[in-house]
Amino acid sequence: MDPLQVGIFLLVGASGWAVVTTRAPLHQSLVAGFFGLTLSLLFVVLQAPDVALSEMVVGAVAFPLMVLLTVAKTRAGDGK
């Protein structure tokens, strides 16, 4: 394994950890977006451009967007 791969693997591991330990959902959705980005970076390094592209559109855009919207809704509901 070359150092680049090692580095990105470690980054993915660390950001995955960060997603779980971030308990506030709003912050977590941002961290999850970052995690999705590092994953797609890793997929590029692993020579999987197709997968990287999907992870980018799903993991870094669509999934955090849905989480954000849910957070927005449930927060607004708290005010009741």
Binding site: P49, D50, L53, S54, V57, V61, A62, L65, L69, A72
Partner: protein
């Protein structure tokens, strides 16, 4: 269980599980040394048999096209389920959310955001279409391009015109497109049957490798999946969005 009691079996179970899983994974061929037969079998046959150059697309839409049919319908089921679950509860007001300026956190979209949205919309739209159409040539394809297409419409939301967006996604056009995309895949697969071939046989003219019209049904299937995925994500995210808008309107005195 109390929360301390809960941790103990979890940690114990995890340690055992992790230990054995690691042992098993270490017994696999080491990282970077894979010598399976499946990949090479496809890489060596896709050019002579199908004039295709993108192995992942060939697998998704040709060799293992039936998986993709199932996958497309998973998304279809999720949209049906999502819309079913995010329907308005009886307790909630029965009429539609109305766009009220200043509703969204009280901020009008800044001109920069508006400009960005207007600028990004056509760009992302074109990119999405490109990614769908070139799915059998370059990385990407119906799925990735479809999500990009859906994203393009969300720049409309960013630039403040979400009333239009909701109106559009509530109309029947998008859900019809979604159904058509899903059904289209099934129908393209059927084309081979009258010729006495098996379901999903790739029987269209194969064309020259590297051309836009090549690899038989691959581009067509890419388009159907792109249609389905784009409309599916549009519907899903619009359903979530509508939830947010309903409650915000209720909060207003």
């Amino acid at each position: 269980m109390s929360s301390k009691l809960r941790h103990f079996p979890f940690v114990l179970g995890t340690l055992v599980f992790a230990g054995f899983l690691l042992r098993a994974l270490c017994a696999l061929p080491p990282f970077g040394e894979y010598r399976g037969a499946y990949g090479p079998a496809i890489l060596s046959t896709m050019e002579p048999l199908r004039h295709a150059q993108q192995a992942v697309a060939s697998i998704t839409f040709d060799y293992r096209g039936f998986d993709t049919l199932g996958e497309e319908f998973i998304l279809f089921a999720a949209v049906a389920g999502g819309l079913l679950l995010l329907r308005r509860q009886e307790s909630e007001a029965a009429h539609d959310p109305v766009d009220q300026s200043g509703d969204r956190g009280g901020i009008e979209p800044a001109p920069a955001v508006l400009g960005l949205g207007v600028l990004m919309f056509p760009f992302t739209l074109l990119l999405g279409i490109y990614v769908v159409l070139h799915g059998h040539l370059t990385p990407g394809g119906g799925f990735q391009g479809g999500v990009l297409l859906a994203t393009a419409f969300y720049y409309v939301y960013l630039s403040g015109e979400y009333h239009d967006l909701l109106g559009m996604s509530r109309g029947h056009i998008v859900s019809h497109l979604e159904a058509a995309g899903a059904a289209g895949y099934v129908i393209i697969g059927l084309l081979a049957l009258p010729a006495g071939l098996h379901y999903l046989h790739n029987l269209l003219p194969l064309g020259d490798k590297g051309n836009l019209l090549s690899a038989g049904t691959l581009p067509l299937l890419n388009i159907t999946v792109g249609t389905e995925v784009a409309s599916a994500f549009l519907l899903l995210i619009a359903a979530f969005l509508r939830q947010v808008l309903v409650i915000r309107r209720e909060k207003k005195p």
